[in-house]
Symmetry: C2
Subunit: 341 residues, 2 copies
């Protein structure tokens, strides 16, 4: 069923059919003609050929979602929340989303991010620096919003969590619970996210007249196993540490495991606070106090921005800006209140 066939069936021209099937031109066709056409459309269950439409309009009505596609990452619920957010805001907008999975960086080159090509807009998750190649981002020619981590000098919209705030919140929670000798387990050095968390934490700490022993800020590369060692090192450096701020739930999980191995207990002997509010980790250690990052909302916002930009075709140039959404503390039972003792 093409538009031509429909024209023949109804005895009008293809132009009229076209007007009838496009919401914004429907009013230009007479009511009775419309009726006739609609009936025929239903009768022959006609649907327009999108490729033709896309070609003609140089747009695809789909926005691409780029995420790294490795087992470990993907199985965290993080991207599920992310996809839900995108999906739900796109629903009913007339836009679809297409998942562009990103195995190796080289795959980027296969995509050509021009308008009307494959996608009209893009939401890119740059959780891992590995993938955040400026050269690639600069090639993109459609409105893009970057999630999670960004390149300072690339002009795109960025939406992320306010991790300075997160670090601050963690610090405050520990501080208000009477902890003074604390340690931090952070991620790899390139991780801007972790830097921010640590920064926020330290800022609070110093503002309250405490000094943080820099030897107690140890990295564990986002790795659960490495957190074991990090914990050992911390304990060796200062056996009297009462709390550990882990920049990632996965590393917190490592600490919790190690703690169990060593037959000491959390929070009685030592407090732990995580970051990410990771569903999976939370299933294993349902008592882990953590900082929740609003991925779902981030995704929603990202999709909304792109939608708005696409609909108001005023400016051709890509928008830019950064937005940091507040994170919040999820208090569970892994932090001991020392003050009340």
């Amino acid at each position: 069923m093409t538009i031509h066939e429909m024209a023949k069936k109804t005895g009008v021209s293809i132009a009229t059919i076209s007007r009838a099937i496009n919401p914004h031109t429907r009013e230009k066709v007479a009511a009775d003609t419309l009726l006739k056409i609609d009936q025929a459309l239903k009768k022959y269950s006609y649907t327009p050929n999108l490729a033709a439409r896309n070609l003609r309009q140089s747009s695809t009505q789909t926005i691409g979602v780029v995420i790294p596609f490795y087992r470990d990452i993907f199985y965290s619920a993080y991207y599920m929340h992310f996809l839900s957010g995108v999906s739900n805001t796109l629903e009913g907008s007339g836009y679809q989303f297409k998942l562009l999975t990103l195995g190796q960086e080289q795959k980027w080159d296969h995509y050509d991010f021009r308008s009307g090509e494959q996608v009209d807009g893009l939401i890119v998750s740059l959780w891992f620096r590995y993938f955040s190649n400026r050269r690639v981002l600069e090639k993109i020619k459609v409105p893009t919003v970057v999630i999670d981590d960004f390149e300072e000098d690339v002009k795109t919209m960025f939406i992320g969590g306010d991790h300075v705030l997160g670090g601050r919140i963690a610090a405050e929670h520990l501080y208000s619970h009477g902890h003074r000798r604390v340690a931090i387990i952070t991620g790899p050095s390139w991780s801007r996210d972790c830097q921010q968390r640590v920064k926020g934490f330290q800022a609070f700490w110093e503002q309250h007249g405490e000094t943080l022993n820099q030897d107690l800020v140890v990295g564990a590369d986002y790795l659960q196993d490495k957190a074991h060692e990090a914990f050992d090192q911390i304990i060796k450096t200062d056996p009297k540490v009462t709390a550990i701020f882990c920049c990632t739930d996965i590393m917190a999980a490592g600490v919790l495991e190690r703690i169990k191995e060593l037959n000491i207990s959390c929070p009685q002997d030592i407090s732990v606070i995580g970051y990410d509010d990771d569903f999976i980790i939370n299933a294993r250690f349902p008592y882990l106090t953590s900082i929740h990052v609003p991925v779902y909302e981030m995704a929603q916002k990202a999709a909304q921005y792109i939608l708005e930009h696409l609909k108001s075709k005023k400016s051709k140039k890509l928008f830019a800006g950064t937005e940091f959404l507040p994170v919040r503390l999820i208090e569970r039972q892994s932090v001991m209140n020392l003050s009340s003792v």
Copy 2:
């Protein structure tokens, strides 16, 4: 950059450019011309307009993946494995995949599953009967493979787990560990999956001269909470039950919770065997013996079938058939060996 512009730049015709950019026609172009063209392509970073190509070839080079998109479901790792499987087999095939999320059934009507329209093929997950609307499936005009659950009379390819086998394996495991008084917690009555599991279990049981008290086969609607009640009912019916086969890990989790509440222990006091080998549940109850369903492989196979069918354009008609992949026991520590006592 269009093909015309490239033709002008290189001084050849658009036909030659077209030949050069399509792998299967490259050999028809002279080596030196090819060189010249390739340089120009790179220089101007030309990429063909997919909409035009799709229109011309009536194909989209993308296959659609339809999954229900509700928070609870989506956050189980099940669909992550599923997507990984699809993604990985599609990688390098020239096909992309597009995630079609399915909120309300009505959304189906928005999609028009004709070849060259939006997708060239379809992988549909019908985990929930709710979504499996025959009318809709029959509308689909591209090669389709259905995953998880199927309509008996709709002619499509189906790939699922062999759940009769799964039930059998569970039964055998319990039996060989000396259990004779057992109960089953099953899903909602419409669930074909659960029916099969129960069927397999019962078949084994009867083959070994045992009779299964039908009052001990209770439903819990796939719900964790309802499994609490189901457990209570079982215990009330027969306090001497030694093992429970749960048709779903999520229901097993409910049982495990209830057991803990009642201050009895698994497997010492009662054995539990789950089904699905659910990552999330396994994080919480790492000792739960369960039946693993090879989702990843199912997805791979589904993608492969579609790919094959698409590449050999011999038959236009959709293929059909059913394939049940073997499931396997993942033995952990929730089943007590009564024989060795």
